[in-house]
Amino acid sequence: MDNQTISPRQFMFLVILFSVGSSILIVPTPLAANAKQDAWISISISVAIGLLLVVLYNHIATLMKGQTFVQATIAVFGNWFGRVLLFFYLSFLYILASLVLRNIGDFMTTQIIPETPLQFTHILFLIVVIWGAYLGLEAIGRSSEMFMPWVVLLVFFFTITLSPQIKMENLQPVLGNGIVPVVDTSTFVIGTPLLEMVTFLMIIPYVKDGKTKKRAWILGTFIGGAILTLITLLCILILGSDLTALNTYPSYKLAQKINIAGFLEGLEIIIAIIWMITIFFKMVVLYYSTTVGIAQFLTMEDHRPLLLPLGMGMVVLSIIAYPDVAYFETFINETWFPFAITHGLIIPLIVWIGLLFKSKKQNKTQQEPS
């Protein structure tokens, strides 16, 4: 769009914040409900699979040769079929963004400001997200550098202050229910956030320096996955799998248990801050890539005019997306994984094959004359 670039390190930070954001809220509960005390093994398995996924994405990114996913798809499949694929891809991003918005809204209205109407929370949050997306990728990348140390510091502080309450026996017996539920549950984390990383195919062309950016994506996924594993592990070690499964937001409950010298209590705000920052970055990345994608889809020169109108739609969508929390839980448990795999794996695979053919053809045409 406007020739803004970010450095590989900033890209890595964005990947970390993206993978932690909102997942840190919703992941531990269903994991502990299904895999019990082995939830952390599930996460580790899915992070390992996620790394493979990122290798695929990286490969696609190389074949795109500096184009975004939208531009590359149109270039490969032409205006008609390419646009059909992209319609699904972009609607996936849009729906994902509004679900993430709803997540933070739900959290705020259940835990922190229960009497505030949901839509106002969404509007305020989205205004700031639009502000971020308006300022462009450069500002997003730099801000991630400003916030990353704080997130790391807070996670560190969180772990240290909770470590006296760890009960190792909560982890036993390891694989007590067999490996099946553990592997079964790992699909959950693959669905959110790992398959959602397909978003970065819109960002990666704007990353400077082709070599280290691949490593940055993989490393970012790994670190983000490690933070998720750490938080889930802490939930199980301290609350136990039963209570983790019982809580809507177990990591928040966990933070309530911090007690330093009997005076410093009520530090749950720490986890709330981590959430808000990480979810904010997830939202900004999603929103930015959605609007840039839609702008490129419509061959517009600038994505900025779309920011505000699309925001209006997103507030409505995030409100009507699910009537109650139970609906969301069944959706995220049953439908999300196939939905994410269609858009996060199958569509990229189709584009990948197309790109492969195209580059082969180009190689041939380049070789023949010489």
Partner: protein, 398 residues
Amino acid sequence: MYMNIYLKAITLAVCLLLLAGCWNSKELDDLGIVVAVGIDKTEDDQFLLVTQVINPSEIATDAPTTRPPVSIYETTGDSIFEAFRNMTEKSPRKMYLSQLRVLVIGNRLAEEGILPSLDIFYRDHEFRTAFFVTIAKDTGVKDLLKVLTPYEKIPANKLMHSMESVQKSLGSSKGIVIDELIAQILSKGQNPVLPGLLIEGDAEIGTAIENIEKIDAPTQLRVDHLAVMKEDRVIGWLTPDESKGLNYITGDMESTTVSYPCDSEGLVSVEVLRTDSSSKAKFEDRTPSISIELDLEGNVGELNCPIDLTKAESIETINGDVEKKVKQKMEAAIKAAQEDFGSDIFGFGSLIQRKNPDYWKTVEKDWNSHFKELKVEIQVKAQIRRKGNSTQPITIEE
């Protein structure tokens, strides 16, 4: 130019939001800070709810008046939530529950099962998890919460502090916070115990401010021993010695005393400084058994019988006697749990589950009856390290 418009738009939006109101804000002086809640069932099967609300200006003041530092409100309702809302009819302020210290459960409710009534305390966002759950022993919850306490202005704080100090230095009771309690009730391999509270003296006198104007307050609150639960129902009470035994086994004993009469006349009292207990599940031919090892470290606290402490053997004898004494208490606790109550309050089931999950699945359903048959071995190792300031007992040479 662009930026300016955006800034204006944001300011405008913020102003609009401000006009729309501060939905959630509540000023500090509109809050009735609840420090203790009592729940029970009334005779017509309704929930009884008693709250103890503090009166901040009475507590943080330089010039005390005659108004009491706390007030009590009592309502009933079909559910606890409803009872909380009914409270607005009586109280001028909104009940604010985040500072809750103690939840007192009445007798009647405790015998019926407490799990359904605990739900709101875990679900509602206002409750934090760091409050103790207790049982009112032999008194109504309202009478209990009405007693004014000397020295500590807020009775709920007094209850919390005495529960903590009983656990820290006596070990005949222990505090349990709500999420531990729920986790233990849900766990099939462990049943919880709850500390009891009772009134000493006349309940009526305790409510008046005169109670705390006397040096020797006639009515006082006391933390008593532990109530044994089976799932979520109270089925009986442990004696002080059994309570101590329980704490020894579960490793919750921080510090206590062990005293016993010595051979001739007088008593030996040992101050237990720290204990370290480790329980393990063992399997022999698919029959589980539990072995408990307890390491105990202590000082000679008080000695009024003729023992020559300079000799190494006499310390050895004290060690042996303490071991015997502690082991008795632990055995008493196990015996009570196995024979009188049939309730696994030690978490032995969880130990077995961790050791052998396959076996556990076969006994999980009726664990409590298997528990009665469970063999438990106890090993106690005591070590008296110091003998205090005096080298010998103070006696008159004959």
